[in-house]
């Protein structure tokens, strides 16, 4: 049971790392500058949406 949970966790971490690496490649322009700019805008907009939707510490951020 425990090993199954660990396997799922490992798979999740691996998938997240791969997704993160691909997204990092997008931003540093591996797939070309238009993709990089689009990726950057998506990342920043998503981050701001999370800041607005999930305020912490009682402040604006």
């Amino acid at each position: 049971m425990r090993s199954g949970k660990n396997l799922r966790r490992l798979a999740g971490v691996t998938a997240t790392a791969l997704a993160g690496t691909i997204f990092f490649f997008v931003i540093i322009g591996v797939f070309g500058q238009p993709f990089a700019i689009t990726g950057l805008v998506i990342f920043v907009v998503a981050a701001i949406a999370i800041y607005r939707g999930f305020p912490v510490g009682g402040g604006l951020m």
């Binding site: 990092f24 931003i27 322009g29 700019i37 912490v56 009682g58 402040g59």
Partner: protein, 469 residues
């Protein structure tokens, strides 16, 4: 033992400029951070923002003062240790340094007093204006210095007559090919430095269970700024890389650790190398397969150009450039990962409770300073053997000064700067341990450095005195 004046002059400049850049990096970042915090205070009237402002203002003031003093030394060093450089490049570099003083220092000097001591003497809006002017002043200062340094990396707009430079286009001198990329890279680095500094101190308070409101707000702010900024920074960094590859290929060839004119296909991305410069090869190279082709050529099997494409007498030392670049780039990747992790923790409501994450933030407190220093080492050591790329070699730029004179002034600088850094760290650690003003009485809880920072010392108010010439 025979001392080499050229080497001593370089060590002296490397030491003084490395020490100096720590403080402007922090003050550029903190000045804008303070402007944002004061704007939030004016908008929300939340006293917590004022508390954050006052706390970081003290640290900003100390860093700003040391930055100004250590910056002046560099101007003198141009004349004292690099007189031939000053003589040749003076017509281009001199006016830019003078313009920095006229446009940035005067602005900062005019408003710094109001910013530091005027909160209860002028209205809040005028005080906010003063903070913004100081922040703008730091950015103008960075613009001129980056313009001057970028001109040394990618000189343009000048002609050479009888060994002297004549400016033919001021526009081309100031807006030289690398300036527009390197300026946002440096400014973003400064903002990241401030973000991790702020988040790290907040995380420390959370781990210690002190000043919790203050800590939560600063961790939230610091991680939010850092997340957005690091995404922009890796993008800008890639643009800088492309620009330098075009204008200073030898620097990027050294930064990637390849010697061959064309690397193997697919090219690995090296993380560890033991370069053998005389034999133009690596004794040891450890890398990730395919990654070099993907990152550097944007194709799966692309070949990377190595340092043998540059004649030996024009090559920088590979080891220094390579490892400085790896430190900067490695830290950028870690910062990016922390930014993404902070978003995930925020979504799950664990941003302030994940102790592992908070410890990582504490460890990353000086990461911005380290990455900025490493970036400057890439820029400066990668330009070697030139002081003005392709025009003047470092060996031809040194003053005819005896080695003993350079050695004695170097020892003097080390002693004086040791006092500066000790004073700064003592003051900053004391402030951090004391906590923000208006904090509950348990703020001065005991800690491991109790002998150095006794509570009765901490209870005394700390006065800041800044002198700006």
């Amino acid at each position: 033992m025979k001392l080499d004046p050229s080497l001593l002059a370089r060590i002296q400049f490397a030491f003084t400029v490395s020490f100096h850049i720590i403080f402007p990096t922090m003050s550029i970042g903190l000045a804008s951070f303070l402007a944002v915090i004061e704007a939030l205070w004016l908008k929300t009237k939340d006293p917590l923002y004022l508390q954050i402002y006052k706390f970081w203002l003290s640290i900003f003031a100390m860093g700003f003062g040391i930055g100004v003093v250590t910056g002046i030394v560099l101007s003198f060093e141009f004349g004292l240790a690099f007189a031939r450089f000053a003589e040749m490049a003076g017509p281009a570099i001199g006016p830019m340094i003078a313009l920095e003083v006229l446009t940035a220092f005067f602005l900062e000097a005019g408003f710094l007093g109001i910013m530091l001591f005027g909160l209860h003497r002028v209205g809040p809006k005028l005080h906010f204006f003063a903070t913004c002017m100081v922040a703008v002043g730091t950015l103008i200062s960075a613009s001129w210095i980056l313009s001057a340094n970028s001109w040394m990396q990618t000189p343009s707009g000048v002609a050479i007559h009888d060994g002297r430079l004549t400016v033919v286009s001021w526009r081309d001198v100031i807006v030289n090919p690398s300036w527009l990329y390197r300026l946002p890279h440096m400014v973003t680095a400064a903002y990241l430095t401030a973000s991790f500094l702020v988040a790290g101190v907040g995380a420390w308070y959370l781990l210690k269970g002190k000043h919790l409101q203050f800590a939560r707000r600063t961790v939230a702010l610091g991680t939010a700024f850092a997340t957005v900024l690091i995404a922009g920074q890796v993008f800008i960094g890639d643009l800088v890389y492309g620009t330098m590859l075009k204008h200073q290929p030898s620097k990027m060839q050294a930064a990637e650790g390849f010697w061959e004119k064309k690397s193997q296909s697919p090219a690995p991305y090296y993380w560890i190398i033991v370069p053998d410069q005389p034999n133009q090869r690596n004794r040891l190279a450890v890398g990730i397969p395919y990654l070099g082709s993907i990152w550097l050529t944007h194709s799966l099997r692309g070949r990377v150009e190595g340092l043998q494409n540059t004649p030996r007498d024009r090559q920088p030392r590979m080891g220094m450039v390579f490892y400085a670049f790896r430190i900067m780039y490695g830290l950028a990747i870690v910062m990016f990962a922390i930014g993404v992790a902070s978003l995930w923790l925020r979504l799950n409501g664990r941003l302030f409770s994940s102790r592992r994450f908070l410890w990582v933030l504490v460890l990353m407190t000086p990461s911005g300073v380290i990455a900025t220093l490493a970036g400057w080492y890439v820029a400066e050591t990668g330009r070697q053997p030139w002081v003005i790329y392709g025009i003047l070699r470092v060996a031809d730029a040194i003053s005819p000064v005896p080695a003993t004179t350079l050695l004695s002034s170097l020892v003097g600088f080390i002693c004086i700067y040791a006092v500066f850094i000790t004073a700064f760290l003592t003051f900053t650690i004391r402030l951090i341990r004391r906590g923000p003003a208006g904090a509950p009485p348990h703020a001065e809880a005991s800690g491991s450095l109790k002998n150095a920072f006794r509570p009765h010392v901490l209870d005394k108010p700390i006065r800041i005195t800044i002198g700006v010439d």
